[in-house]
């Protein structure tokens, strides 16, 4: 949940704006959404990005939370995916079986937006356990809706903080399928949706190589170096030939995001 975002390092833009790496991550993620997307907002970090997009350039973005709320428009960020405001501002609220059967499995969602504890080079996600499932080092909350969000939405965006603990060679447990252990299993298993199309971290943007499906860095956030990203990634990460730099946050993006967080903190105090 974005309400609990880690404070990142401060960064200074050329235009006199300051922002944190965490703000940059949220803003970059928000830009990836098309204005008419129907977006399933999974448990974890994505909620701020989705609502920022809705409050700026994508007012008609449709947000779905797995608690059953369709087309919700919260004024503040929900602390849980089932906060009352999600239902109060939704077009309608359906039962959880209907949500998963009709809306997700029925194929009505364009984008699934997920967080991750571990993400590997082929976009597989672990939110279950660090270590062995039978004898865990760290027992994580588990799957929630993520496995079917990952396989049944048209495509998947992932957002998470970039470190060698989170960006790993191979996940300890595949909670949610990306492209599979060798990048080939998604198609081989007959999963017809696109899978991980975009990963937004606090340092960079990664996209799957169209051929081998390995996540490749396609953009660095302003002020971030290749070495920083390489050092924070648990595999020998590749960089795109046409490596870009993310546009820095605009004044409006920062203002709307900060107002959203301020309203959220006031509401949850």
């Amino acid at each position: 949940m974005s309400a609990q975002q880690a404070d990142g390092d401060d960064t200074s833009g050329g235009d006199g704006l300051d922002w944190t790496t965490s703000e940059m991550m949220t803003i970059a993620a928000s830009r990836a959404l098309d204005p008419d997307d129907v977006c399933f907002v999974g448990i974890g970090a994505p909620s701020a990005a989705c609502n920022l997009a809705r409050l700026t350039r994508a007012p008609d973005l449709t947000l779905i939370y797995e608690s059953g709320t369709l087309g919700t428009r919260p004024e503040v960020l929900p602390l849980s995916i089932g906060d009352g405001e999600l239902s109060e501002t939704a077009v309608t609220t359906v039962s959880v079986p209907e949500m998963f059967r009709y809306w997700l499995q029925g194929g009505h969602v364009d984008v699934g937006f997920l967080g991750a504890a571990q993400l590997d080079r082929y976009g597989n996600i672990n939110t279950t356990v660090i270590g062995d499932w039978d004898d865990p080092k760290v027992r994580l909350p588990g799957a929630g809706g993520a496995p079917e969000i990952a396989s049944q939405c048209g495509k998947v965006f992932v957002t998470l903080a970039h470190s060698t603990r989170s960006m790993v060679e191979q996940v300890d447990f595949t909670t949610s399928l990306g492209f599979g252990p060798t990048g080939t299993e998604r198609a081989a298993l007959g999963v017809m949706t696109a899978g991980p199309a975009l990963v937004v971290t606090d340092l960079a943007i990664l996209e799957p190589d169209p051929d081998d499906h390995e996540l490749v860095v396609t953009a660095l956030h302003p002020g971030v170096t290749r070495d920083q990203v390489a050092a924070a990634t648990g595999w020998a990460v590749r960089f795109a030939d046409d490596l870009a730099t993310s546009p820095p946050p605009t004044a409006e993006e920062l203002q709307v995001l900060r107002d959203l967080h301020a309203r959220t903190e006031a509401a949850h105090a």
Partner: protein, 270 residues
């Protein structure tokens, strides 16, 4: 036909050591009062079923009520881990808890199948994930028309289902509003059901002909428990106590501190 016992009597009548018990509530209407009564009555060896086990399950597990947990997401929503749940899974304290681990889609369909009186749910799920490796209850069936292999999981049919709702009328008809989750499915799928409500009224005042109303003749016990979902919330009655969810992270971080808090706030508060 629903009866209207006290919370104590409803729990004493329905919940026995060794039972499979579902206290559900998908982030809303979480039946804390009923969970605390189960703890006070000292139930042991329960198989707890819940899609989203959170604080009340952390408390039941930490107090030693449970030997098994069927679930799909266990955390403190918006805060982080469930520390008592983790202590049980990682260090067997106060005892080991066997996990039957699912994803939401499968548990949602398993509740649907339980309410529908079927032995299994069929859905498209788990493809390419590690969950079937650790949960033998995830099987497959083949569609006789297309040849497609689909996931199958056992229907959920617990001994006891407990949910909270807004209100009941004198016939025990219960209105649920807002995030309705799997409230209806739990009542219909369970062998014995308890619904705690904020109040009993003469006129249910359901706003729509299609409001989610569970008829009294499909419920065993309706229990008046004002505030029975706190610190979670009851849409239209009171808000979620977010500060308590955050405070729980520290209360539950230490075994002794947890036990002291439970003694003062649950065991001695009836």
């Amino acid at each position: 036909m629903a009866t209207f016992p006290s919370l104590h009597d409803a729990v004493a009548d329905a919940v026995h050591d060794g039972d499979t018990v579902a206290l559900e509530g998908f982030t809303h209407l979480i039946p804390f009062a009923a969970g605390h009564e189960i703890i006070r009555q000292g139930r042991r060896d329960l198989t707890l079923v819940r899609m989203t086990p959170d604080l009340v399950h952390d408390q039941m597990i930490g107090m030693g009520c449970a030997s098994k947990l069927v679930f799909s997401w266990g955390g403190n929503p918006g805060v982080g881990s469930l520390r008592r749940f983790r202590d049980a899974v990682e260090h067997d304290w106060p005892g080991p808890v066997e996990l039957v681990e699912h994803a939401h889609a499968a548990m949602a369909s398993a509740w649907e199948a339980g309410a529908a009186g079927l032995p299994m749910a069929v859905l498209r799920a788990y493809t390419g994930t590690s969950l079937p490796d650790v949960n033998p209850d995830i099987a497959t069936v083949t569609c006789p028309f297309t040849g497609e292999e689909l996931a199958a999981v056992p229907a959920l049919r617990p001994d006891v289902g407990v949910v909270h709702a807004q209100r009941a009328d004198r016939d025990g008809n219960v209105l649920v509003e807002g995030i309705i989750g799997i409230q209806k499915e739990v009542v219909l799928a369970s062998d014995r059901s308890i619904v705690t409500v904020e109040e009993v009224v003469d006129d249910l005042a359901a706003p729509s002909p299609n409001s989610t109303v569970i008829p009294g003749w499909a419920i065993d016990a309706v229990v008046v428990a004002p505030g029975g979902a706190a610190p979670s919330y009851t849409h239209g009655y009171y808000d979620r106590d977010n500060a308590f969810y955050q405070a729980w992270d520290e209360i539950s971080s230490d075994r002794d501190r947890f036990l002291d808090w439970m003694q003062a706030n649950v065991m001695e508060a009836a």
